[in-house]
């Protein structure tokens, strides 16, 4: 099995706000697990043999790992700033590779066609050059200086604006997006996509947000994010092949796809291949 590297990573497996003593039965990389409130009230994750797995509580979610994580789960310092609204969006099941779900989140060129008149609109389709790097010290993929014209960038945005973005991949199935915050120039809204790989072709996606927004209710914010992600799902369930091709030749990137190219390269370098298609495996 070549996926040991990914076994040692942390994955979201449930919302802290949704725990019960009976527990929620789910899967992680094919293995059945149970996420529950333990005897002393602390969250617990058990494998099929009823043995406890490592647990971290962060960003409103319960995180676990099937292996022996060598590092702590990443942090998002901005999310700790006071007066942000922390939004547990919930879960969306998608019949796709967990890696495809993350790659789509890193993509802006699809906004005018998939999130038409919300995150993008023709004729504003051009993706200007931006900066992409694999930061060796943090071992993360970063894209900065990403700019895009958006008709309605966020629930709190009125009218079209050019939005600036930064994307970050701190774990193989997680991505953090920092985005211009309409009510607070100078601050970034934080929007995350945490993906739980159920199998190589099936995942539970847990979007999570830390926003400056005083105008919208929690329900409105959740509905906005769910609408956006359900539009993405119609794409994700119709890509061929289902798994993310890591070898060049199968798919043809352009300059607008620099983040995706770096993400694929980073996955391959680490042997993060659960949900990937390799020519020679």
């Amino acid at each position: 099995m070549t996926d040991t590297a990914m076994k040692d990573a942390w994955y979201p497996v449930g919302l802290c706000s949704d725990l019960s003593a009976d527990g929620r039965k789910t899967r992680l990389m094919g293995e059945p697990i149970t996420v529950k409130t333990g005897p002393v009230g602390a969250p617990e994750v058990l494998n099929a043999d009823n043995e406890p797995l490592p647990v971290i509580i962060r960003f409103g979610h319960v995180w676990t790992s099937l292996g022996a994580p060598q590092t702590d789960l990443f942090t998002i310092p901005e999310a700790d700033q006071p007066s942000r609204k922390l939004v547990d969006v919930g879960v969306v099941r998608v019949k796709c590779s967990p890696l495809r779900a993350v790659e789509n989140f890193l993509d802006i060129a699809h906004f005018p066609f998939v999130h038409t008149d919300i995150l993008g609109a023709e004729p504003h389709t051009e993706v200007e050059d931006y900066k992409v790097e694999i930061r060796d010290e943090e071992d993360e993929v970063w894209a900065t200086k990403v700019k895009f014209f958006q008709p309605q960038a966020a629930k709190s945005a009125e009218g079209g604006i050019t939005t600036e973005y930064m994307y970050r991949v701190p774990a193989p199935t997680c991505s953090v997006l920092y985005k211009t915050c309409p009510p607070r120039p100078g601050e970034w809204d934080v929007i995350c996509l945490f993906v739980q790989p159920l199998t190589e072709d099936l995942c539970d996606v847990w979007p999570w947000m830390a926003l400056y927004d005083e105008d919208n209710t929690m329900t409105e914010l959740i509905h906005f994010q769910q609408m956006i992600f359900l539009q993405d799902r119609s794409i994700l369930e119709n890509q061929i092949p289902t798994r993310l091709p890591l070898d060049p030749g199968m798919e043809m990137p352009t300059r607008a796809d620099m983040t995706s190219v770096a993400y694929r390269r980073w996955l391959k370098r680490h042997n993060y291949t659960y949900g990937a298609q390799l020519v020679a495996k």
Partner: protein, 216 residues
Amino acid sequence: MTHTLSLPWTPVALSSDVPPGTVIPAKLSSGPIAVWRTQSGHLSANGDRCPHRGMRLSHGFVRGETLSCIYHGWRFADDGSCTHIPAHPNLTPPSAIKCNPRQAKESGGVIWVADELPDEEPVFFEGYKPLRSLVVAADETSVREATQATDVDSGLAVNHAGTDIRLLVSDLDGEQVFVILLLAENTSPEACVSASRWAEVMRQKAERICNHGETT
């Protein structure tokens, strides 16, 4: 293998299923395809996969004379070449970007597709018009058994309540077949309805035969 399945052209839809400015999914034995018609009426077919990120092109949209992928709006001409990449509007797409064009032709109200251009023309049933298509979750042997049809040049023939019916049968994925019903051009509306209902009954029968080995 019967002769319907081994035809150089595969019947994939009725012409009326693909009006100008639309795209539909279909299948060849070589894989899924997108069949589309330009605004001006020109029919095209290509592999159902955008070379950029693998999205199914049958989910896309037709504008003018090109097919666009729904994911990033990449535009393709009928020869499979990419003519526009919206993320880079000033870039001339490299000629290496292609979306696997197939050969598409219409004959007698039926759309026929082939991987490579065959030497011969698609089958034409003189004096017949297509009525409808249907997908049957059974193999061709079961369809033959259910219909008790006889072979007639490149198709099957059956007579239902005095109506002469021709069937075109093609394999979809080994588990389903695609069937097109053709009737004589002067068939009355009542007889058309009756033939359509007969087709539904035939489908159920063929699926029962295929699933349970039931015989007639």
